[in-house]
Amino acid sequence: MAQKTMIQAITEALDQEMEKDEKVMIFGEDVGKNGGVFRATAGLSDKYGDDRVSDTPLSESAIGGMAIGLSLQGFRPVPEIQFFGFVFEVMDSISGQMSRTRYRMGSTRNMPITIRSPFGGGVHTPELHSDNLEGLIAQSPGIKVVIPSNPYDAKGLLTSAIRDNDPVVFLEHMKLYRSFREEVPEEQYTVPLGKAAVTREGKDVSIITYGAMVREAIKAADQLEKDGISAEIIDLRTVSPLDIETIIASVEKTGRAVVVQEAQRQAGVGATVISEISQRAVLSLEAPVAFVAAPDTVFPFGLAENDWLPNANDIIEKVKNTVNF
């Protein structure tokens, strides 16, 4: 098995699914000849032609709307939004339309759309380019929001997303694109949507997180182990709909929960996780649930980024508070 980066795993998933299903098509800004600004679609327009991998005008609303029109006609569009901060231009298509088409048309229509988009902090891209906006979409019923934390999951989750008959927003954390490699099988495989992973088993505390914060949680857990604290890590993988059962089972086992997200603190995925834990597992808790999140300020300029972003030290501190409560 070859060692691959997450971006390679993503390109491979796109390539293999396009080969398997001629209804899969990619479009977006610079995804054709240029292969995408992060090279996610590199080589695909040469291989599958301009009709199946095409550049669009700078028109996010049109990209979203056309994806709906194309999927009405049986295509499986995989549009790219160049940075997820540009989602505001396509919010109507996502939250106002594709997530509701099934509801509005009596389940007579599938919306097999996978919107891929890079996001996330830690690579010195300013403001909107780094924003964690998954919470915006997670509030829309009818659409799924998937955020892989590693190359293996990225390939399997993206393959599942493309095959899914509901719309999926597939968010790719830029810091994970090339920061490490792991073994990714050559052949196609799927990782189910809506299922969290137990990344590491532990008995003292559950760290519940997703995306790039899984890497920070692993670093934290390694350090905590040296200090005699056994941390379990739950990687949500799909942040909407949430895999509540896996979260609750873990918290009931460990009796402590630290929820970690890179997004700002207010009204996001982490807040929902904490809400569910407090409603369903409060009698299992030995300590209040702790929350590691970014401050409720605008994503900062480059030099302040490392201060702003949550990291392993923040997680360690919260875990220790929780364990020593």
Binding site: D51, S61, A62, G69, L72, S93, R104
Partner: protein, 328 residues
């Protein structure tokens, strides 16, 4: 007005067109009644645009062409294949509403069976969808055309520019329509756009634009026949602006007497395109007044029956609240 004969349609087809126009008017009136007596919660209407909508829709082949309408297009949806009962079921929000099982807003028509795509209440967002549908036709070498409509106020949304621009770049078989009734709820068109004609905008996207008098059946029909023929032949999109009237308030929640004078409303009624069309039918020897009255009687009976049938259907069950959100 152009003679009906020059439309190329037979006498029988012209009479059917009139029946479709009158059916639209009577059904629209029924939907207002149902709202006024509290049996339905909402209505938004196309009274004053029926002649234009029928002339438009007749230029297409609803068995294969796609329609992405806006909320005033009930009469066009009837031509496209929906029935008065389908429409009323939607207004009642019944389980058997074929658009959405009672989920979607009234007047947001949709039907997989009839190639009608339900739209969102954020105006004009159906336009990029139509571009996508037309893109699918081009990619798969199919000869269907997409028709999408909006109002002259809604046409100022950014999505319209994105949809038209892409359609122009790719020369897609999509026909964009602006039904210009001079009002965006209460705001007159002078406050909405600066062009003399909305159709001039097409030049900016590299395709043709035309403004037609929507109360002139033949002029409107022939404009669409040409646009459909060109689109089907791969010559790309068109923008057609139909000048129509809005005889009613914007919706059942609006009172247009606040912003329209009595004189204006009286003139509107006198110039009702339905009355003008009826006069034309008589003048040009298609129908007599008696024949029209007989047809009207039949249509009223048809709509009464459709209302009773629809009202007798079941409401969605509360247990179905969680359905239709994700694939089963």
């Amino acid at each position: 007005m152009k003679k009906l004969k020059s439309s190329g349609l037979s006498k029988e087809e012209i009479i059917q067109a009139y029946q479709a126009i009158l059916r639209g008017r009577r059904l629209d009136e029924r939907l207002w009644q149902l709202t006024r007596i509290g049996k339905t919660s909402f209505n938004i209407s196309g009274q004053g645009a029926e002649v234009a909508q029928v002339a438009m829709a007749l230029a297409f082949e609803p068995e294969k062409d796609y329609f992405l309408p806006y909320y005033r297009d009930m009469t066009a949806c009837l031509v496209w294949g929906m029935t008065p009962k389908d429409i009323i079921l939607g207004s009642f929000g019944k389980e058997d509403d074929p658009s959405s099982h009672g989920r979607q807003m009234p007047n947001h028509y949709g039907s997989k069976e009839h190639n009608i795509v339900s739209h969102s209440s954020t105006v004009s967002t159906q336009m990029p969808l139509a571009t996508g549908v037309a893109y699918a036709a081009q990619l798969e070498n199919k000869d269907y055309v997409a028709l999408t409509t909006t109002g002259e106020g809604s046409a100022n949304q950014g999505e319209v520019q994105e949809a038209m621009n892409f359609a122009g770049v790719k020369k897609l078989p999509v026909i964009f329509v602006v039904e210009n009734n001079d009002y965006a709820i209460s705001v007159g068109s002078k406050e909405q756009y600066a062009n003399k004609k909305m159709s001039e905008r097409a030049a900016g996207y590299g395709f043709s634009g035309e403004t037609v008098d929507g109360s002139d059946f033949t002029e409107t029909y022939l404009a669409f026949v040409k646009a459909v023929k060109d689109a089907r032949a791969g010559k790309g999109p068109a923008l057609i602006e139909m000048m129509v009237s809005r005889l009613t308030s914007h919706s059942a929640d609006d009172d247009h007497t606040i912003y329209r004078s009595k004189e204006e409303l009286d003139t509107l009624k006198e110039k009702d395109p339905l009355l003008a069309f009826e006069k034309q039918l008589i003048d040009e020897g298609y129908m007599t007044k008696e024949e029209m009255q007989a047809m009207d009687k039949e249509l009223k009976a048809e709509i009464n029956k459709a209302t009773d049938d629809a009202e007798a259907m079941l409401d969605p069950t509360p247990e179905s609240l969680y359905e239709q959100v994700y694939a089963e």
